[in-house]
Symmetry: C3
Subunit: 152 residues, 3 copies
């Protein structure tokens, strides 16, 4: 089997780029995850993982990551992305991602509501959250993203 | 290298949610795969894998999975998703996914045609299929999904 | 942790199909990667990887892959996809993907510009590139794709 991750952190970033993919790449760099091979996952924090905000991951590593992002080429538009980790008392957690044409406060509020619903549906108690968000006012082409990298 | 999966099952589910991602999450839970970290793959059943319909996978595991889904916020709309595994006699199989604004019978029929084309293109004989599907009549925000998790 | 890839190649292909997913599947087959389980990654060439254009990967393997594609059902439309790997002198490289309604020359030019920006943003010197592209004139439903599979 693939090894289950043991560590995580949360991050967010936003940036301009000369095209959509470079804007995405630049936002990843702002979030300190631009030199990794992110492998997108849906979206569970394995039981017992450790929060490691200063984790250094070697370039090119394969990193299971839950993330959300938005790219816009509408000058003046406000965009935001947020991720949230919801913790249970003694079991796994749930990760939610949001992105939209709004500010970071609205994005964070959306994440909180999404985590509440995710825990209610599972019949689990939500004992804490950790949220990261970024907002961006588009100049030409901009990206906002937020991510929860999982690591070992 | 990453270890090649040895087991699989097929599943499907549908649900409402207060927003798009929670609808997706709730449909995953209905399909018994909501507490996993699905890593999306294109779409081959490795040779020699075993069908294990009652597989229990620990929460938070990284699970290579082929899946299709549709989310709709149009009340009254009928949506469906289907997956199908096509088996060869003694080699690998092919997985196809479908989702659309239709019922599950139409989704399953689409999958059968897709598998036929996939085997024809490869010059392989299709000796059997295993299909899972779900349909959903949208109330506010609904999701239908179908998946083939691969495991060890 | 997941093992970091040690080898790579670049490929591209295009094809028709009776529906969108079969067109994608057929284009993967044209690119010699249709019998693999591609796991999409963002988009770094790990340091020290080896270029292996004739790599044979067993069917059903889980293959971390950066790829771009476009599917069109507009008869007569010209579509193209390209990938490019940008190399640094002695560190990791960067992979960029592009797809659009254009020919392969335009797609390749876009990739070159994207790689330049990716290296400028990182303050790294771009010492070489390797590019693959495919174009396709749509008959009924067509797909063009380009990919950088990473392997061991």
């Amino acid at each position: 089997m693939l090894p289950t991750p043991k560590k995580f952190f949360v991050t967010a970033g936003s940036a301009e780029g000369k095209n959509h993919l470079n804007a995405f790449d630049n936002a990843l760099l702002k979030g300190r995850i631009g030199n990794l091979n992110l492998m997108r996952v849906t979206s569970i924090l394995p039981p017992g993982v450790q929060y490691c905000p200063d984790l250094e991951i070697p370039p090119g590593s394969l990193v299971p990551t839950a993330y959300g992002y938005i790219i816009s080429d509408v000058p003046g538009e406000l965009i935001a992305a947020a991720v949230g980790v919801g913790f249970s008392k003694d079991s796994f957690g749930v990760i939610m991602e949001f992105s939209g044409k709004c500010g970071k406060e609205e994005a964070e509020k959306a994440i909180e509501n999404m985590l509440k619903e995710a825990f209610e549906t599972r019949g689990m108690e939500l004992v804490g959250t950790k949220i990261a968000s970024a907002e961006h006012r588009v100049e030409k082409i901009g990206c906002a993203l937020a991510a929860v990298p999982l690591w070992y």
